[in-house]
Amino acid sequence: MCLGIPMQIREIEGNAAKAVLSGTARLIYLDVLDEEVQVGDYVIVHAGFAIHKIDEKEAKETLDLFKEAGVFGSGSENDTAHGVR
């Protein structure tokens, strides 16, 4: 059960926040987040809790598939330090 929804933070009060996805708002909790968030930030919400902030730059790069090398770019931007041949 990995269902997670990207939502934008609109208001913050303590450990709770009002977040919206395209016209639908709900109350979510921030206890599990490991970073500070501000109004306007996007987070992934799972089971009523924000579990991570969405990195806008990375999001854009994922969409910009069409680099010279092909639709996966050079591939190295997806690598972790664990690459093994």
Binding site: I5, L21, S22, G23, T24, R26
Partner: protein
């Protein structure tokens, strides 16, 4: 001053003076027409000869007031629509009420006003009614049953078993508004939306369609179970397959996002003011134009067609180019939506 005058009591269901007083003060003024005013045991009407269509429905929606409507409006429009999709011109409705002891009379008034307004828009009269009261705790505020009768013109053969291969499938507008609007008022779900129910009478739209052509094979107003249920029913009854284009099915962004959050599929969410029409291809674009010209059909689309393959099955081509089936919904996804 709050007193017994503000709420329904058991006396109101007793059939005696209190009952008659309730009918005179609340029901008659709202549903004013010569039949009801007679206060006979039955209404006797003159009807033109022809085929009579009859339908009945019970309304138990919770909550009884929701954005865009209420249980009364549903009760009128729902039954009007069941007649309309059979090709019947709705004539008369009956309305029976089961009220819980303690139900606020102000709420009853609100519902009756709403029913009067809905009847006016649909151009039907409520000519018979009944009221019963059950003890507190034995009923949830108000349940309504409406039965409707209408007249089917000659030359119409509209039925769920009549869809034909090559028919185009027209859907009159975006789906899922009603179910989400009702859910948004439920406790424990905690989401906010500006969505309103799409509850509306469709009889005028049907008249306008039949003015274009009488060769309509099947029609449905998708309610509980959504568009998926209605299409599967017709595919099963007509023993045909249906192919849909996901991209043609309109869903408002607010419905999409609420469904994402709740884990629902808009195809299975209830509507109360949408029409599905199965029409032979040569008439499809004219019918589409007629639907779009109606106040409730501005965003109508051709969403698919009937095929000979996979009889009884509804299949959908997804926006990414794949295929999936649209299965019959299982049981109670969203309790007490209608």
């Amino acid at each position: 001053m709050r007193g017994k005058r503000d709420r329904i009591t058991l006396d109101h269901g007793g059939g005696g003076r209190a009952s008659r007083e309730l009918i005179r003060s609340y029901f008659l003024p709202r549903f004013a027409n010569p039949f009801l005013e007679k206060m006979d045991d039955s209404a006797v009407v003159d009807i033109p000869s022809g085929r009579l269509a009859m339908t009945t429905d019970c309304y138990v929606v919770d909550p009884i007031f929701f954005p865009g409507g209420d249980i009364g409006m549903l009760a009128v429009n729902g039954t009007v629509n069941d007649l309309s999709v059979q090709g019947a011109q709705p004539l008369f409705l009956s309305a029976a009420f089961i009220l819980e002891e303690g139900f606020e009379l102000a709420d009853l008034e609100r519902i009756l006003v709403s029913m009067a307004r809905a009847s006016e828009e649909a151009n039907v009269s409520i000519i018979a009614g009944d009221t019963k009261v059950v003890p507190k705790g034995k009923g949830d505020k108000i349940y309504i049953n409406t039965t409707g009768v209408g007249l089917v013109q000659d030359g119409l053969d509209i039925s769920g078993s009549n869809a034909k291969v090559l028919d185009k499938v027209i859907l009159s507008g975006p789906i899922g508004d009603h179910g989400i609007a009702v859910l948004s008022q439920r406790e424990g779900l905690a989401f906010d939306t500006d969505l309103r129910s799409d509850c509306a009478p469709l009889n005028h739209m049907v008249e306008e369609i039949l003015a274009v052509t009488r060769e309509i094979h099947a029609m449905r107003d998708p309610t509980r179970g959504g568009v998926a249920a209605s299409l599967n029913e017709i595919a099963g009854q007509s023993k045909v397959g249906i192919v849909l284009m996901e991209g043609a099915i309109r869903v408002k962004d607010e419905v999409k996002s609420a469904c994402e959050i709740l884990g629902l599929d808009p195809l299975y969410v209830a509507n109360e003011g949408k029409l599905i029409v199965f029409v032979p291809p040569e008439h499809a674009s004219h019918v589409l134009t007629a639907v779009r010209q109606n106040h409730h059909g501005g965003d109508a689309q051709i969403i698919g067609e009937v095929v000979a393959d996979h009889p009884g099955r509804v299949v959908m081509r997804t926006t990414v180019g794949g295929t999936r089936i649209v299965d019959m919904p299982l049981g109670e996804q969203l309790p007490r939506i209608c």
